[in-house]
């Protein structure tokens, strides 16, 4: 269907939603970047018949996989942040999808490398 003229009400709603989604996505990505990435690994060692646990944060840094020992008192906070990061990664997808959808409707073209709007 050819639409000769854009309806200003619909365009304003979509633009408002588009900007809101962009803002939310930016905020969520910022929070995600503030959270540590990786997974928690609890290593068990048995020394003289007693089992000891050593928590490590395992994450990828470039081509290498690094492992950092976590002090026991920092463990609850780290667990909380890792959990938050995983949940937020899941939550950003609907915003990304909506942004792409509105871009298609409004004909907003986006630079694939910079992510900046290039339609104007």
């Amino acid at each position: 269907m050819n639409v000769e003229e854009k309806d200003s009400m619909i365009v304003s709603i979509l633009m408002d939603e588009y900007n809101h989604c962009q803002e939310m996505l930016g905020e969520l990505l910022k929070t995600i970047s503030d959270c540590p990435k990786g997974a928690l690994h609890i290593q068990k060692r048995t020394i003289n018949g007693r089992t000891y646990t050593y928590p490590y944060l395992i994450f990828r840094k470039g081509p290498r996989v690094e492992r950092v020992y976590i002090k026991k008192d920092k463990l609850p906070e780290l667990k909380e942040k890792l959990e938050l990061r995983n949940k937020l990664i899941h939550e950003i997808k609907p915003y990304q999808n909506r942004i792409r959808y509105i871009e298609k409707i409004l004909g907003i073209s986006r630079n694939k490398h910079t992510g900046k709007d290039t339609s104007s």
Binding site: S8, M9, I10, V11, S12, I13, M15, D16, E17, N19, H20, C21, M24, E27, L28, T31, L84, K87, L88, E91, K93, P94, Y95, N97, R98
Partner: protein, 235 residues
């Protein structure tokens, strides 16, 4: 001022998880004083007054009445309630809480009392949440109506309060598309306004000359004429 309650026959077309959110907030007594505002309130106006279709947006805003008591006790832990529904608490700049789930974000707003040392975020201990202070929210909190749906009730501003509030804030918007959206909403609502209710809303608030000028500009943009507005605010 509370206006008579309205019953909506049948189910309002809402996404399931939004329906669940409203029903849950209703069950904990949140809508006794708090109000659903923003685009989602329009969804209810649409169901009641059959105004033109309006797409709902992903931000769900609630205006919350601050308790008068100095040390209110926790009534309900809303953060926990939202967490139970799958919402993730996300702190933005200034420590403001936003609750995100499935591409929708819930935010709480309170009336900005325009105090010199007003913080960016206001704690609401009785609900265990924080809220953003926004000017003119009192207009929406003080002119409400209860809307009963299938298995919950919700409180929304009267169309007159919503309309008057939008007339003011449209001219305060930085973004053109937001102003355009506000004014289009005003235009849609202008057809269902009750003259007496509008008069009550207008007289309930003392506004500055600058705000009156903004209202006038909004009215001119949408070609809205009203004797009460002209009598009280448009010299």
């Amino acid at each position: 001022m509370e206006f008579p309650e309205i019953n909506i026959p049948g189910k309002i077309p809402l996404p399931d998880h939004i329906h669940e959110l409203f029903a849950e907030l209703c069950s904990v007594g949140f809508f006794q004083k708090s109000v659903l505002i923003g685009t989602w309130a329009i969804t209810f106006y649409r169901a009641i007054y059959k105004i033109i279709p309006q797409a709902y947006t992903s931000d769900i805003d609630f205006a919350v009445q601050l308790a008068v008591k100095k040390k209110p006790v926790v009534k309900v832990d809303l953060e926990e309630v939202l967490k139970r529904l799958g919402y993730v608490t996300h702190l933005v700049t200034g420590g403001l809480q936003k609750f995100v789930h499935l591409g929708y974000d819930v935010e709480f707003l309170v009336h900005d009392r325009r105090l010199k040392k007003e913080p960016d975020v206001i704690k609401i201990p009785e609900w265990n949440i924080n809220a953003q202070p926004v000017p003119f929210i009192r207009l929406l909190l003080e002119n409400t109506q209860k809307v009963c749906s299938e298995n919950f009730y919700i409180r929304i501003p009267t169309p007159e309060a919503f309309f008057f509030h939008k007339l003011i804030i449209a001219q305060r918007r930085q973004r053109e598309e937001k102003r355009e959206k506000d004014l289009r909403q005003c235009e849609a609502l202008s057809r269902i306004l009750d003259n007496e209710r509008l008069r009550q809303v207008i007289t309930s608030e003392r506004l500055s000359k600058d705000t009156k000028r903004k209202i006038k500009r909004s009215c001119e943009t949408i070609y809205f004429q009203n004797e009460h507005l002209e009598q009280w605010y448009l010299p």
